[in-house]
C-alpha cells in the first residue's frame, strides 16, 4: 500500500542526514514535546525527511529519524509503513493523488482518471518514463464539496473533469504551476454560480420570545 507507485528504478541510499536547514526545523518539532516524549515527533520528522529527499523516504532516513529520537528503528518503520502519505520509493516530480471515493466518483472521478491515463500513458500506481508524473489512487482527501479532486504534491486541484485535468497536466509539463484550488474559479467551496442562500437579512425578533420560534416554523 505504501509502496503504491512503481516505475522508477531506485536504490536505497547508504546514508541520510538532515541538512542544517531541515535539522533546525526538526529540532523545532522535537522541542514541542516534553523531555522523554521526543518519540512523539516521529511523524513531523519523517515528513521533513521526505521533503528533503525529493518526496520519498529511504530507509536510511527512517534510521536517521530513529537515531535522532532515540527510538528503535523498527518502531519508525512501523509508523512510516502505516501512513500512505510516506512514499517508500521514489515518485515522479508531480505525484498525482487522485481521489476516487464515492463523492468524487459520483462527480466524475472516472473521467479524471481516464484523462490522466490517456494523457500520461501510464496507469494508477505507475510513473511516466521521464519521471515527471506518478499516478496514485487515494481514498477521501476531505474536499468532497469540490469533488473531484487531485492532490499534486502539496496542492489540491478541485472541480476537475476530463478536459481540465488534461489542461492541468499540460500546464505542469510546461513547467508552470497553475493556481491551486478550484479550476472552475470558484472561491473555496462557495456555490458554483451565484449565491443561493442567505440572500436577505432575516427580520430579527426579540431574543427569547415565542414569536421568533413560531416565525421560523411558519416558513
Amino acid at each position: 500500500m505504501s509502496e503504491a507507485v512503481e516505475g522508477l528504478p531506485f536504490e536505497q541510499p547508504a546514508s541520510f542526514a538532515f541538512t542544517p536547514e531541515y535539522l533546525a526545523k526538526a529540532q523545532a518539532q522535537i522541542a514541542k514535546y516534553p523531555e522523554g516524549r521526543q518519540a512523539s515527533a516521529v511523524l513531523p520528522l519523517l515528513d521533513l525527511a521526505q521533503r528533503q529527499n525529493d518526496n520519498w523516504l529511504p530507509r536510511a532516513a527512517m534510521d536517521h529519524v530513529a537515531h535522532l529520537l532515540g527510538m528503535a528503528p523498527i518502531r519508525v518503520y512501523e509508523v512510516a509503513t502505516f501512513y500512505t502519505m510516506f512514499n517508500l520509493r521514489p515518485v515522479g516530480q508531480h505525484l498525482f493523488q487522485i481521489c476516487t471515493t464515492t463523492p468524487c466518483w459520483l462527480r466524475g472521478s472516472d473521467q479524471v482518471v481516464e484523462a490522466c491515463r490517456k494523457k500520461l500513458g501510464v496507469g494508477i500506481g505507475q510513473t511516466t518514463p521521464d519521471g515527471k508524473f506518478s499516478l496514485m489512487e487515494v481514498e477521501c482527501l476531505g474536499a468532497c464539496v469540490n469533488a473531484p479532486i487531485i492532490q499534486v504534491n502539496d496542492d489540491f486541484y478541485e472541480d476537475l473533469d476530463g478536459p481540465s485535468t488534461e489542461a492541468l497536466i499540460d500546464a505542469l509539463s510546461r513547467g508552470e504551476k497553475p493556481p491551486m484550488g478550484s479550476v472552475k474559479g470558484r472561491q473555496t467551496s462557495a456555490p458554483e454560480h451565484a449565491q443561493k442562500t442567505l440572500l436577505e437579512v432575516p427580520e430579527r425578533s426579540a431574543p427569547g420570545t415565542q414569536a421568533g420560534a413560531g416565525d421560523r416554523n411558519a416558513e
Binding site: 500500500m1 505504501s2 530507509r59 528503535a72 528503528p73 523498527i74 518502531r75 518503520y77 512501523e78 509503513t81 502505516f82
Partner: protein, 685 residues
C-alpha cells in the same frame, strides 16, 4: 477486591485483575490467542469475547478490568456466536495446511477451531499471501499462517529486550517482521516459537522432524549453563529431538535460552560411544574390560600424590562424588572442579552462591555487575534483571568492558578499581545486590577481588537477616555441585593450575579428566590422561584412555544451579553405543583398582551423598547459606576484566559439536548471512 460472577460462580479477584483472569480463577477456560500472561495486554485477537450483562456488546475479557458486581457469561449463545464470528475471520486468511505444518497437534488455532470453527468457509475470494521472513537460523517463518496476535513483537520488545520485531504496513497489508531482513540478536529468540499460537513461527532445526504425539516427554533440567532451567525433553527412540521450557517461576519462568533449546543436535555428534586406548599415538577401540583394566593398573602403580583429577563444566554431582571418593581412596588430594581456576572455595557456602536467588532479583532495587555479562553467561538471569528494570526502572551498573545489555547500564570502569565507585547508590538502595562473575574471579587476584566485593556487600547493607545481596554468577552447571561436594584440593593437594604445572614438571603421572575440556590440554606434559566424558572435544583429543560417559539427557543426575538449588535431571534416552552413566564407570573402575566404592545403585549413592552433604538433599529448594569470611585480601591487579563468554552459543562440548550453534555463532559474527529458509521450506515442498 472486586467480586464478580462468572457463569454463576462468584469469584473475588485481586485488584487490577482482568475479566479473563477472573474467569480462570472461577475455573472457566476462555479461548484466546493474543493474551499471554507474561506479556503486555494487546486485546487484538478478539477470541476471548465474553458476554457481560448490561453491556451492549460482547467484551474482550483479556483487556477488560474486573470490576465489582460484573456478571459474566462465557458460554451463553451470544458469547459463543461472537467467538465463532471471530474464528471465521481468523480463518479467512489462514491456510489450510495443518497436515504439513509443524505446529500441528500443538496449535492453539487448530484446537480452538475444533470448538469454534465452521466446517466450511464462506469466503470466496483469494486468501492473502505474505512473504516469509528470515529471522536467523533458529526461527522458521511461515507468515501466511500469522494471525497478527503480536505476541512475538511483545516478547521481543519486553522479555528479550531487542526491539527488532514489529508490524509494518496497515490493514490487509500488515505484516509481522523485522522490516530489514536480519537474524534476531537475542539469546532468547527460540521462545518466539513457543509464544506463537499458530504455525507462523516454528523451530527451524526441528522442521519436519516429528509430530508432538510421537515423542516421549521427559521432565528434566538443563546443564548447559548454571541457571538450571527446567526443561522438557522430547525424545523419540534413541534421539533427543527437541527441548522445551518447563514452568518454574523461581528459575526460568517459562522461557529458556537458545543454547538450552537448540544445542541438542550436538548430542548426536562427535560422541564418544566406545572405550578407546591410545596405542602408538593412535586411539584404538577397545572393550570396557581392557580400558578399565589399563586405567586400574595405572592407578594401582602410581602413588596417590602423583595422580590428579579435574572435573569439567557438565559433570553431575554423583560422578564428582564417586571420583572424589575414588581419588580419596588412593590418598590423592589433587582434585579440582574449577578447571579455569576461579577463586572460589567451599569453606563458606554463601561465598559461592547466587544468594539473592533469581526470583529475588525482583525485590532488588540496585544491582552492581562485577566482571560479568549476564546476557551471555545466564540469559535468564539477564531476562529477570530486565523484568525488574521494566517494572521499576531498576538501576544497574557494571564494572568491566562495555556491556551490550538489554537494559540501561552505567559503566563504572573496566577494572577492579571501579568496584567502589557506586557505593553511595548501593547504600541508598533498600535491597542492593551485587553479582560477581567469572570474569572477576578467574584471574590470579580473584580471591582479593572476591574479598573486596564481600567487603562492599557488608558495607552497603547487602547482608541482613532478611536479605542477602551477594551473588556469584557461575557459568558451569557442575560448579556449585562440585563446591558443595568439596571437589577441591585436599590438604596439601594441588588445584588445577598446580596440577598442570605438576604435569609439565613430570610430578603428576596420571590425570583423570572427568568431562574437563576447559583446561589447557597442551600443558598436560607426559602425564597419562584418562578422559571420561561424552564428547570428543579437547580432553578426549589428548587422552590416553577414553571412557565414554553419558550426557545430561542420558542419565538420572543431580545438578546444583548457581543459586545452590539441587535439581534432578532425568534420563530421556540411553547413552549411545557402549557409553555408560558416569557413576557406574567410576564404580566399575574402583572395583578393578581394588578400592571398591561402597555403593551399588543410584539410590545408595545418593543416600551417601545426602548424608555427607545434606544441602544436596533439599531437591528443588534453596537452602539459605550462612554468611562468613571468604576471599583473601591482597593486592589487586588493575587490569580490565575479561568476560568469560565470548561466543554464547559454543561454551561447552555439546555446543561445540552442534551444527545449529555453529550456524548461530557464524550469523552473530557476521560470517554467514543465515541460510535462507534453512534449506527446507514449508508450504513449498
Amino acid at each position: 477486591m472486586p467480586k464478580l460472577t462468572v457463569n454463576g460462580i462468584e469469584v473475588e479477584t485481586p485488584p487490577g485483575a482482568t475479566v479473563l483472569q477472573a474467569c480462570q480463577m472461577a475455573g472457566v477456560e476462555v479461548p484466546h490467542f493474543c493474551f499471554h500472561e507474561r506479556l503486555a495486554i494487546a486485546g487484538n485477537c478478539r477470541m476471548c469475547l465474553v458476554e457481560q450483562e448490561k453491556a451492549s456488546k460482547p467484551v474482550a475479557s483479556c483487556a477488560m478490568p474486573a470490576a465489582d458486581g460484573m456478571v459474566i457469561h462465557t458460554d451463553s449463545d451470544k458469547a459463543k456466536k461472537a467467538r465463532k464470528g471471530v474464528m471465521e475471520f481468523l480463518l479467512i486468511n489462514h491456510p489450510l495446511d495443518c497436515p504439513i505444518c509443524d505446529q500441528g497437534g500443538e496449535c492453539d488455532l487448530q484446537d480452538q477451531a475444533m470448538a469454534y470453527g465452521f466446517d466450511r468457509g464462506r469466503f470466496e475470494e483469494n486468501k492473502r499471501a505474505v512473504k516469509d521472513k528470515e529471522l536467523g537460523p533458529l526461527v522458521k517463518t511461515s507468515m501466511n499462517r500469522c494471525i497478527h496476535c503480536t505476541r512475538c513483537i511483545r516478547f521481543a520488545t519486553e522479555i528479550a529486550g531487542v526491539e527488532e520485531m514489529g508490524a509494518t504496513g496497515r490493514g490487509e497489508s500488515m505484516e509481522i517482521g523485522t522490516y530489514v531482513e536480519k537474524a534476531l540478536t537475542s539469546e532468547l529468540s527460540g521462545n518466539l516459537v513457543d509464544v506463537c499460537p499458530v504455525g507462523a513461527l516454528t523451530s527451524k532445526p526441528f522442521a519436519f522432524v516429528a509430530r508432538p504425539w510421537e515423542m516421549k516427554k521427559i521432565e528434566s533440567v538443563d546443564a548447559l549453563d548454571a541457571v538450571g532451567s527446567n526443561i522438557r525433553i522430547d525424545a523419540r527412540g534413541s534421539q533427543v529431538l527437541r527441548v522445551l521450557p518447563r514452568l518454574n517461576e523461581d528459575i526460568n519462568e517459562e522461557w529458556i535460552s537458545d543454547k538450552t533449546r537448540f544445542a541438542i543436535d550436538g548430542l548426536s555428534r562427535r560422541r564418544l560411544d566406545r572405550p578407546f586406548i591410545r596405542k602408538d599415538g593412535k586411539l584404538v577401540e577397545v572393550s570396557w574390560q581392557d580400558a578399565l583394566e589399563t586405567v586400574a593398573s595405572m592407578m594401582k602403580r602410581i602413588p596417590g600424590e602423583r595422580m590428579a583429577a579435574v572435573a569439567g563444566d557438565l559433570v553431575d554431582v554423583e560422578a564428582m562424588y564417586a571420583l572424589k571418593a575414588l581419588m580419596g581412596s588412593f590418598g590423592s588430594g589433587n582434585i579440582d572442579c574449577r578447571p579455569v581456576g576461579v577463586a572460589l572455595d567451599p569453606s563458606v557456602r554463601a561465598g559461592y552462591l547466587f544468594n539473592t536467588t533469581i526470583a529475588g532479583i525482583e525485590q532488588a532495587d540496585a544491582c552492581l555487575l562485577v566482571g560479568t555479562n549476564p546476557r551471555y553467561e545466564a540469559a535468564l538471569v539477564n531476562a529477570r534483571i530486565r523484568k525488574r528494570y521494566l517494572k521499576t526502572g531498576f538501576k544497574v551498573a557494571a564494572v568491566g568492558p562495555k556491556l551490550d545489555a538489554t537494559f540501561p547500564v552505567e559503566q563504572l570502569g573496566e577494572g577492579p578499581e571501579a568496584i567502589d565507585r557506586w557505593t553511595e547508590t548501593l547504600k541508598a538502595a533498600k535491597n542492593p545486590m551485587v553479582i560477581i562473575g567469572q570474569g572477576a574471579l578467574a584471574r590470579p587476584d580473584g580471591a582479593a577481588i572476591l574479598a573486596r566485593v564481600r567487603k562492599l556487600a557488608e558495607e552497603t547493607g547487602m547482608i541482613r537477616e532478611d536479605w542477602n545481596g551477594f551473588n556469584v554468577l557461575h557459568t558451569a552447571a557442575a560448579q556449585v555441585g562440585g563446591l558443595d561436594l568439596g571437589f577441591v584440593p585436599g590438604k596439601g593437594g594441588r588445584d588445577t593450575a598446580a596440577i598442570l604445572k605438576g604435569c609439565e614438571a613430570g610430578e603428576i603421572e596420571l590425570v583423570y579428566l572427568l568431562g574437563a575440556d576447559e583446561i589447557d590440554t597442551s600443558r598436560l606434559g607426559k602425564a597419562f590422561v584418562v578422559y571420561q566424558g561424552h564428547h570428543g572435544d579437547a580432553g578426549a583429543k589428548r587422552a590416553d584412555v577414553i571412557l565414554p560417559g553419558a550426557a545430561y539427557t542420558e542419565k538420572d543426575a543431580i545438578y546444583v544451579n548457581t543459586e545452590g538449588r539441587p535439581q534432578l535431571a532425568r534420563r530421556a534416552v540411553f547413552p549411545p553405543g557402549d557409553a555408560r552413566e558416569d557413576w557406574k564407570i567410576l564404580r566399575a573402575l574402583s572395583d578393578m583398582a581394588g578400592k571398591k566404592l561402597p555403593f551399588d545403585s543410584l539410590p545408595q549413592l545418593r543416600k551417601q551423598i545426602v548424608e555427607a552433604h545434606p544441602v544436596i538433599g533439599a531437591v528443588d529448594a534453596v537452602t539459605p547459606a550462612a554468611w562468613g569470611n571468604f576471599g583473601k585480601e591482597g593486592p589487586v591487579d588493575p587490569a580490565a576484566f575479561v568476560y568469560p563468554i565470548e561466543d554464547f552459543y559454543r561454551t561447552d562440548a555439546i555446543g561445540r559439536a552442534s551444527p545449529t550453534m555453529a550456524e548461530c555463532a557464524a550469523v552473530k559474527a557476521g560470517v554467514a548471512p543465515g541460510t535462507p529458509m534453512g534449506g527446507k521450506t514449508g508450504t513449498h515442498g
